[in-house]
Symmetry: C2
Subunit: 148 residues, 2 copies
DNA sequence: ACAAATAGGTTTCAAATGAAACTAGTGTTG
DNA sequence: CAACACTAGTTTCATTTGAAACCTATTTGT
């Protein structure tokens, strides 16, 4: 006769924690610039000087390639990114922020760092370090390890 | 000239951590019983003896009412839950697991607890307590606190 | 050098999601 | 006891999402 109390179930806590963090963050770029999560992350990866292929964005952001492809398409439509041929590989193109995209990036990044600070303000410096360490401990494992 | 390194951004870590936890958990009920997250959570809330309205499930699970409504519909089709009139309120019905639903629950719960244990096995007992405490510290805040 | 296999990106399709509109029962107020 | 506002739950609709199929360029094997 086993019983599972959802309110005590670790994955359930994880979900509530994640939702709080992610909604705080999303709210900023969503309301200010109408950016979707994948678009924001793509811009964040590119940064002011980036010159990356779609594939490099995928690797660095842990997003899937379909989402990155769509983010690139829509950021290109907004003229926030530019792309040029990749002379080393004709299948891909090198992408970077346009001047307009850099302006958005420069306005948005301080706000994103501010919301990060607000989230972390509930912790002491040691707690932040400890929380990061503990999260990494699960995130860095091979997921096969947890298969039941 | 601000710069944001996604790889050091706290919300990004949170997302990787959450994905790992949630994919481990989802994998179990998904592959074994073809349950969707909302269906599993509904069953988890009901438990062997539950007798709840949809609204009570919403409150206890932090899911939204649309998802709960759909989970109830599909669990009813599978005949894993039963519902009866709520004599105190004609708008809602009282829901509980059927005999078949209880069987699934009894098979699934030990597996879910096992995957929870596997996830937590990377930590010491003190680390588990500390991680839960730290996650709750953000999860329990009013989200307005984090608005930028 | 040329077929076959592979890798980078995009498109298609079906499923998941949530906001808002909707239906129906309950409670409140004059 | 109507008229109104409100709550429980469902449906509709538009958006988000990802797996699989797809196209094109590159690499590999012979």
């Amino acid at each position: 006769m086993s019983l599972l109390i959802l309110e005590e179930f670790f994955p359930y806590h994880t979900r509530l924690f994640y939702r709080q963090v992610s909604s705080a963050v999303t709210h900023v770029y969503e309301t200010r610039y109408g950016l979707k999560p994948y678009e924001w992350r793509t811009m964040a990866i590119l940064g002011p000087d980036g010159d990356f292929t779609a594939n490099e964005i995928v690797t660095r952001s842990s997003m899937d390639k379909v989402s990155v492809s769509r983010a690139i398409t829509s950021l290109k439509q907004r003229k926030w990114i530019l792309s040029k041929a990749n002379k080393h590989d004709g299948r891909s193109r090198l992408i970077r922020l346009s001047a307009a995209g850099k302006t958005v990036y420069q306005e948005l990044v301080p706000l994103m760092l501010e919301v990060e600070q607000k989230l972390l303000s509930v912790y002491t410096t040691e707690e932040v370090a400890e929380l990061r360490r503990l999260m990494a401990k699960i995130a860095d494992q091979d997921c096969a390890k947890f298969v039941v």
